[in-house]
């Protein structure tokens, strides 16, 4: 992987690192699982070997702001938003000219995150994905404001009229277009609250307290550029570190991008990602198909593994656990793996295959 700006700064940081305190309620970058989780939550992929090594010797308070200020953070955010609004495949918004896409504008600070959501939902792709007044207004109410439309029939009917170009009122504001429906919805206080609650859940993996959600939402309304700060604060909260004491299921995108980085140090190309995601969407339980994909991509790309005999078995087992699961094996696991490996007539790849096709690899 090329030396990215964040990698370079992380390298510089690592040269003057202080020892991280051994606090169980804090993010521990000396723990490879924590580093993998941080990358998956911030960038939607695992770290490559260089990034992992550098992160291990950095302080969370320095690395986290670096990760979330990178354009890759915003690209990950954008792709997750497209997934949330189901703007996929044929409904994906057209690519903007280089440097003018939402992620680039967000990273440059020329667009606020709430404005970006409004831009997405007021765009033609969203209209195409949600045709008709009932579908469009229902989706806007549900996804932007968290409303159960069956309990807000008067607003729904009013929104449908507005969608159809008729003069109508929503929460006291007059409008007469689809654009007005979105704009009025985005001006409600619930818009920022629903957004913040959703983003906290996305990043931390747990629901936030309503009181905190309201406070964060008001802060974001005051200054949309504060979103990076908020995410940085969330990632440094004890709640995030405590979440890491359990396993959270990777999204399909996290799984596929992490898999390719784990194997090759590179991200998958768009075609590979798209084909694999389409297939994963065609099953009710993606677990077995994820294992198939891991198996075949390992077979296709290899993992730069040594040949049998080049590395002593116990060391190999330890290395592969750290690389793919972010943890060391327990004594019984290690012993069983060593025995099975020594008994078989096989290459180290089978160890990698066992770990990458195990259900634990689908979590982080």
């Amino acid at each position: 992987m090329p030396l990215t700006p964040s990698l370079l700064v992380a390298l510089l940081l690592s040269l003057a690192r202080p020892a991280a305190p051994d606090d169980p309620a804090a993010l521990q970058l000396s723990n490879p699982r924590h580093v993998r989780a941080l990358y998956l939550d911030a960038l939607g992929r695992t770290p490559d070997s260089d990034e992992g090594a550098l992160a291990a010797s950095a302080r969370p308070s320095m690395l986290v702001p670096l990760l979330i200020s990178d354009v890759e953070f915003w690209q990950h955010w954008y792709e997750d938003e497209l997934q949330y609004f189901l703007l996929l495949d044929n409904f994906r918004p057209a690519d903007a000219p280089p440097g003018e896409g939402l992620p680039e504008r967000l990273a440059a600070g020329s667009l606020g995150v709430l404005d970006a959501v409004r831009t997405l939902t007021a765009g033609s792709a969203f209209h195409r994905a949600n045709p008709g007044n009932d579908t469009f207004v229902s989706v806007v109410f549900e996804q932007l404001l968290g409303l159960v439309v069956q309990r807000h029939t008067a607003q729904l009917e009013s929104g449908k009229k507005m969608y159809d170009g008729k003069r109508s009122s929503l929460w006291g504001t007059i409008g007469n277009s689809q654009f007005d429906v979105v704009t009025i919805a985005c001006s409600q206080p619930e818009f920022a609250e629903v957004f913040v609650a959703r983003q906290y859940q996305r990043v931390v993996g747990l629901p936030a307290a309503p009181k905190q959600v309201r406070a964060w939402a008001r802060r974001l309304e005051q200054d949309q550029q504060a979103f990076n700060e908020l995410v940085g604060e969330w990632l440094l909260l004890p709640a995030y570190a405590e979440r890491l004491s359990s396993l959270r299921r990777k999204t399909d995108r996290q799984f596929l991008r992490g898999l390719m980085v784990d194997l090759t140090g590179r991200l998958p190309d768009h075609e590979t990602l798209s084909r694999a995601r389409t297939a994963l969407a065609a099953v009710a339980d993606a677990g077995p198909l994820r294992s198939v994909i891991a198996r075949v991509l390992l077979g296709s790309h290899g993992a730069g593994l040594p040949s049998r005999g080049e590395v002593e078995a116990s060391r190999l087992v330890q290395q592969l656990y750290l690389r793919f699961l972010g943890r060391v094996p327990g004594p019984d696991e290690r012993d069983a793996m060593i025995v099975l490996y020594q008994q078989c007539d096989c290459e180290p790849e089978i160890l990698a295959r066992a770990l990458m096709t195990h259900w634990e690899y689908q979590y982080y």
Partner: protein, 399 residues
């Protein structure tokens, strides 16, 4: 270490045998795994006292199909022979609430209302969930093969309180996986290798040796245990090596769904297997294509039926239900095609065929039944009961 020639000489286990047994793959995962806690008496128990039926296959012969082009024609000889050997309900009332909504209604036993593009899951629990919840069947015992489409993934389970993914069906959208593009992805660079039984055994043992020290956060999906997941993984690999991805032509998606169902029946012998077809909806633009697809689907239905009757275990234990979600308009549209929206008898009344070891043979039940009666009938075969506001069991079915 061994040299390459020694490796080539490894014992090769027939693939199907490997999939059926799954022991090599599951390895020690079976020991102490969730399956060990399952109720062993359920694995091959008859569905209800003194009945032979142990398994049920439900084919939603969908896409909007009139009886005029099936049992009242020469297009579907296989459906005809199944009907002749079973019970025919020629007056099955349906509702034209969109393909998705009408098909969901068959699964939930309740007429569901959905928009044509709506992605929502049913609000009433499906027969998959009710059967799994009430009888304790594992996820790998309940399968659904669809012709593809994101919307159809929602068939697997409902959003009903107390049900959901934990009781859902294993669903495979055949076209989503077994297509040329995905096959190219997995095969293209040599990643899809042949079966090496010894390596698979080692792999299974190694997987079983992984002792995850951390708990899982939140909902954990359908609940396929490690052994079942390993077998499904092997099945997908095997299907990718096979011919499913290369099926092409008019109605290919439906043909893939039927092939997947047939293979799943042969390999997993699930207790409940459902298939959904949809290609006949090509009728909007072409009556000829519509008939061609119906004929192709009937051929696939015949193959599935033959696979069941040709398997000694399945033939004596499997019941089959076949019905479309609704029919089509009485008259041609301007393109000499057939839409669905005229509220005609051709649209709102279809034929249901039921065949099985406990059912009557060669009977025609002339009184009206409903498509939402099929799910309660299947649930009752498993000894369960549907909830309120659902259909009733089909009358005149049992011998």
């Amino acid at each position: 270490m061994t040299n390459p020639s020694q490796r080539r000489a490894r014992r090769s286990v027939p693939r199907r045998e490997l999939l059926r047994g799954g022991a090599a793959l599951a390895g020690a995962a079976l020991l102490g795994g969730p399956l060990a806690a399952a109720k062993p008496w359920l694995l091959n128990a008859p569905l209800a006292a003194a009945r032979k039926t142990k398994r049920v296959v439900l084919v939603v012969f969908g896409g909007g199909v009139r009886t005029r082009e099936t049992l009242l024609s020469e297009n579907t000889p296989n459906l005809r022979r199944i009907a002749d050997a079973g019970v025919l309900y020629p007056r099955t009332a349906v509702r034209n609430n969109g393909h998705y909504g009408a098909a969901v209604s068959i699964f939930s036993g309740s007429f569901e209302v959905f928009g044509i593009r709506e992605q929502a899951r049913p609000q009433t629990p499906t027969l998959f969930e009710i059967i799994r919840k009430q009888t304790g069947l594992s996820a790998s015992d309940v399968w659904l093969s669809t012709a593809g489409g994101d919307q159809e993934t929602n068939y697997a389970y409902s959003s009903a309180s107390g049900y959901g993914a934990a009781y859902g069906a294993n669903l495979i959208g055949a076209e989503g996986i077994f297509n040329a593009e995905f096959k190219q992805l997995v095969v293209g660079q040599g990643g899809l290798r042949g079966v090496d039984a010894e390596a698979e055994q080692t792999l299974g043992g190694m997987r079983a040796a992984v002792d995850t020290p951390l708990p899982v956060l939140g909902d954990d999906g359908l609940g396929n245990d490690p052994a079942a997941s390993a077998r499904i993984e092997q099945y997908i690999l095997e299907e990718l090596r096979g011919s499913a991805s290369s099926i092409t032509g008019l109605g290919a998606n439906d043909a893939k769904a039927m092939l997947v169902a047939r293979n799943l029946m042969g390999i997993f012998k699930p207790r409940l297997m459902a298939v959904t077809l949809r290609a006949p909806d090509v009728a909007h633009g072409s009556f000829n294509d519509y008939v061609t697809v119906i004929r192709r689907n009937d051929e696939e239905l015949g193959r599935l039926f033959d696979a069941i009757t040709g398997d000694p275990e399945l033939s004596e234990s499997t019941a089959l239900f076949v019905l479309p979600e609704f029919g089509r308009d009485r008259d041609f549209n301007q393109r000499r095609g057939l839409d669905h929206g005229d509220s005609s008898k051709e649209l709102n009344e279809v034929a249901t065929v039921a065949w099985g070891p406990d059912f009557r043979s060669g009977k025609v039940h002339d009184r009206e039944v409903r498509s939402i009666d099929v799910a309660p009938t299947i649930v009752s075969l498993f000894g369960g009961r549907m909830g309120p506001r659902t259909g009733t069991t089909l009358p005149g079915l049992f011998a």
